[in-house]
Amino acid sequence: MKAQFVRILTLVIPLLLLGGCSSTPSKDEDKAGVGAGASVETRGAGERGWRGERGERGTGAGEEADTSSVHGHGAWASASLDDPNSPLATRTILFDFDSSNIRSDFVEVLRAHAGYLAAHSTVQVTLEGHGDERGTREYNLALGERRAHAVKQFLMAEGVGGDQLREISYGEERPVDPGQNEDAWARNRRVELVY
């Protein structure tokens, strides 16, 4: 725990000093405010980092995403995948039952990832599709692929090159929650962005 706290500080302090992706003071406050209250489970870039759903993060990221669309992808050029305060730290996209539609509460996170990937055209990400345990395994394998594909298409529509994106489905074979209830199933219906 202490090591993690130190890590947070070493990331937050430079951001407060440098101002992060944009230079508006209110944004720094935003970052500091959310960062201080957030629980941090990120690991370094290239490793598998994941978080739960973060509704309030979505709002903050929305402002940054708007900024990036105004300033172009260059706004993401200095972003870091290791930054626990960035929307890029959200690597899990959740889905509704029997659906592969991108939910509105994940649009901004995906736009952030799209911006980052477009600004770093040599970076690749694997989109891992998953489903909950209900129904047959092979059909769920296909559903997982449909979800991964939906994320891929969204990212490409936002300007990411297809060669940066890899898809794989795990169906119901790799749940994050082994529970047999709605909450567990909701957590398992996901696409994970694995850098």
Binding site: E133, R134, G135, T136, R137, Y139, A142, E145, I168
Partner: protein
């Protein structure tokens, strides 16, 4: 007294050490045939037999649910050959059939197993066999004897000498998840590891000659379809295209493999000719098409498709053509496979929110629910059509169960090692 307890504990330990699966009958069937199996007479001299043949035969027949086995302590006499049988003893006990036998060493380290089956009511012998065997082969011989008795008394071939493949998953002490494809005898004895991985394994499928298994492996962080020889472990990768490679299903002549590939954009059914390696595309639709299975005559495929909005079962000619929908009850029907007589399909059907095993009569279109769910999956017919083995989730853990094709009898197959799923019943042993 102490020695008795020790013997019991040792016997239980022995049983656990051998069997990954033990089988409990949860519901019996009416009209079970009362049969007595006299303990087989063992050789008078030499080492004790490594196998109690009479007990294994009795356990097999009892497990089918179609027989009521006379407890040994109720027997009035213990004949080991026809000459010693007094049918009056057995009629008094209400038995319909009687099995007697003896095991003798045959001089070269092996054994000769002799058994006779009698119709008690008629006082006649039904069948007699002399079976040469070995010390290691005695249990298989017992299963073969059970198969013969089963067939003589029910008219249906037995499946006691057949095998099942299944997938288990365990978390080791190091916290790493390990997925293993295993093959065991139909009674759970002698589990043998076919392949083990830290990445998922899915969809084991027996070749019609029972010598190979096709399966899906996620090793290398991608899906591939492998075919592996059970005896030698030698394997070959037959599909590793872009996207999904899964759901292998052998044609009845063993020459073709139906597969699901999404290499052209979305999951479609293909047929791979194992000789020429030519790939024939069967479905052409933006929907998910998956879970193919062959009719016993090799001319038709059934598969799952959500082209109508939700998963339903469709039939198509094995050489391609326009698919025809066959399920119309309910909003989720998937993973269909044919009964050996080709007249019905077992499948997964969702009713009342629960995923259950169902049986579809192809002629009438009637869909019968055989199990209660809530998370039943992966049904596989026994090769004699009498039972369907499937995966169920109980208390958050996967385990195997079997239900008779008429739905009246159910067995729970208890595993003591991790999560168990995706059973596949081998073809009849040849």
């Amino acid at each position: 007294m102490y020695r008795y307890f020790l013997a019991v504990i040792l016997a239980l330990w022995q049983a656990l050490a051998y069997a990954d699966l033990t089988i409990e009958i949860t519901e019996g069937v009416q009209g079970a045939i009362p049969v007595a199996i006299v303990p087989f007479h063992a050789p008078d001299e030499g080492a004790p037999l490594p196998e109690d043949i009479g007990a294994t035969v009795a356990a097999d027949l009892a497990r089918s649910g179609r027989f009521r086995i006379l407890p040994e302590q109720d027997m009035l006499s213990r004949p080991s050959s026809g000459a010693e049988v007094d049918f009056h003893d057995w009629r008094t006990l209400g038995q319909d059939a009687l099995v007697v036998g003896r095991v003798q060493p045959n001089g070269s380290g092996g054994y000769l197993v002799q058994f006779q089956l009698f119709d008690v009511l008629r006082g006649e012998q039904v069948v007699a066999y002399n079976v040469p065997s070995t010390a290691r082969g005695l249990r298989l011989t017992a299963h073969q004897i059970a198969d013969i008795i089963y067939e003589k008394l029910t008219g249906t071939p037995g499946v006691f000498a057949s095998r099942i493949a299944y997938i288990t998953e365990e978390r080791g002490r190091d916290g790493v998840r390990r997925v293993t494809l295993k093959v065991s005898d139909a009674d759970g004895y002698h589990p043998q590891t076919i392949v083990s991985s830290t990445e998922p394994l899915m969809s084991p499928a027996w070749s019609p000659d029972g010598r190979r298994l096709a399966y899906v492996s996620f090793e290398g962080k991608r899906q591939s379809v492998y075919i592996q020889e059970v005896l030698t472990g030698k394997r070959e990768r037959v599909a590793a295209y872009e996207g999904i490679n899964s759901a292998p299903a052998w044609s009845p002549d063993g020459r073709r493999l139906a597969l699901v590939l999404s290499r052209e954009g979305n999951p479609e059914i293909y047929v791979l000719n194992l000789g020429s390696r030519a790939l024939t595309r069967i479905t052409r639709n933006l929907a998910i098409d998956t879970e193919p299975a062959w009719s016993p005559d090799g001319g038709t495929l059934v598969f799952t498709s959500d082209r109508g909005g939700t998963p339903q079962i469709y039939q198509v000619s094995a050489s391609g053509g326009e698919p025809r929908r066959v399920t119309f009850d309910g909003t989720y029907n998937a993973r269909a496979s044919y009964a050996p007589d080709g007249r019905s399909l077992t499948l997964v059907t969702r009713r009342g929110g629960a995923f259950r095993i169902g049986l579809l009569n192809l002629a009438s279109g009637a869909l019968q629910e055989l199990t209660g769910g809530p998370l039943d999956e992966s049904p596989s017919f026994a090769p004699n059509g009498s039972m369907i083995i499937y995966g169920a989730k109980v208390g958050g853990r996967g385990e195997l169960s079997a239900v008779s094709a008429d739905g009246r009898m159910r067995q729970r197959i208890v595993v003591d090692a991790g999560d168990v799923r995706e059973p596949a019943w081998s073809p009849l042993s040849k």
